[in-house]
């Protein structure tokens, strides 16, 4: 497995099939990534040639994917989050996302207060609605019953228990806080 530069001509189309990290041009297979050459032999047909990077490829959130994120700061117009998990796979480096005020809830969008939906430090389930431009973050939405805050801590430091879709209670001080709570499916809950 030797390191190959980008654009190196690997072989001709008759010898192998192009796999990931490669492309075909003028009847030859070229590599499109800088990495190690991998030749996998298939029982039916030609072996597959692919180029893999030394590090494992990062899973990127697609539009419509449900992601787990942590709120890092809030504003009266939006909440900024770090995306930690895509589906059930943890990410090695966190991406940044934004949840706009009008994307927090599906109903009564103009009456939403970001301070009563999220707080810094909350763990939130959200759905990707846009990948954003080059500089901006992923745009996320929690406008569904199954999306919203799953883990939140009270001012006393204890993990709060959800009471309704908009309230959570601290088990130590019994004080109630407002959050946009996610209705997690029963099969995902662990007791």
């Amino acid at each position: 497995l030797s390191a190959r530069p980008v654009g190196e001509r690997l072989c001709s189309v008759e010898e192998a099939t192009a796999g990931s990290g490669t492309y075909t041009r003028h009847g030859f297979i070229f590599s499109s990534l800088a990495g190690c050459l991998e030749k996998r032999s298939e029982d039916s047909g030609l072996p597959i040639v692919s180029v893999v990077r030394d590090t494992e490829s990062q899973l990127l959130p697609n539009v419509g994917a449900v992601v787990t994120c942590k709120v890092c700061s809030i504003n009266s117009r939006f909440a900024k989050v770090h995306i930690l998990y895509v589906g059930s796979t943890p990410l090695k480096s966190t991406f940044r996302g934004t949840i706009r005020r009008e994307d927090i809830r599906a109903t009564e969008k103009d009456k939403v207060e970001v301070y009563k939906s999220f707080r810094p430090g909350d763990i939130v389930l959200a759905k990707v609605i846009s990948l954003g431009d080059a500089q901006s973050n992923y745009l996320l939405s929690t406008a569904e019953n199954e999306l919203g805050v799953v883990v939140a801590h009270s001012e006393a430091g204890a993990q709060m228990v959800p009471i309704s879709w908009c309230e959570m209670q601290c088990p130590q001080t019994h004080s109630k806080d407002f959050r946009k709570v996610a209705r997690v499916q029963p099969q995902f809950l662990q007791t």
């Binding site: 809030i74 504003n75 009266s76 301070y115 810094p120």
Partner: protein, 175 residues
């Protein structure tokens, strides 16, 4: 029980404070209120302000307003109108006068009903007074000398006892 921080002011919703305008950026002003963050003040948050009729606020102006939003997670927001839309004494503080910074404990003492210090001072000269919960006091009397005398008395009220204060005022009104 109300915790009394002696040094740094922490914005609280509903508190009336004196702020200094630092940045004028389009629709929003940034106001220094002595807290860890600057407060934001919208140009529409004044009595009778519309998109056509903007208030005449410049950088460096003094503003007397109250907090609409003030918590540890977000930037504080200030307004100069109450819930009915009336200014109710808030707004841009006029020209002249003198702004001083005192401890938060003294402000609470001065804001108590029938405060002796204010009553004694009003016997001395007539003056205008604005008290901000963030420890700032704005004073304006008829002449600069009178203003400075009142400012000195207010600053030293933190350390003087009631008798010392009455002695100082008697000496001044004797002059």
């Amino acid at each position: 029980f109300v915790p009394e921080p002696r040094l740094q002011y922490v914005p609280v919703k509903g508190d009336r404070v004196i702020g200094i305008v630092t940045v004028k950026a389009g629709d929003v002003f940034k106001v220094d209120v002595g807290g860890s963050e600057q407060a934001s003040l919208s140009y529409l948050a004044f009595e009778g302000a519309t998109k056509r009729n903007r208030p005449n606020v410049q950088v460096g102006d003094l503003i007397y307003g109250q907090f609409l939003v003030a918590n540890k997670d977000m930037e504080p927001e200030m307004v100069c109108i109450d819930s009915n839309g009336r200014s109710n004494g808030m707004g841009i503080i006029g020209q002249d006068g003198f702004l001083i910074k005192v401890s938060l404990g003294l402000i609470r003492k001065l804001l108590a009903p029938k405060c002796e210090i204010i009553q004694d001072l009003s016997q001395l000269y007539p003056f205008e007074l604005v008290l901000g919960m963030n420890g700032r006091i704005w004073v304006k009397a008829k002449t600069v000398q009178q203003t400075l005398i009142i400012v000195n008395i207010l600053e030293s009220c933190e350390y003087m006892t009631a008798e010392q204060r009455k002695q100082a005022l008697a000496k001044l009104s004797g002059n």
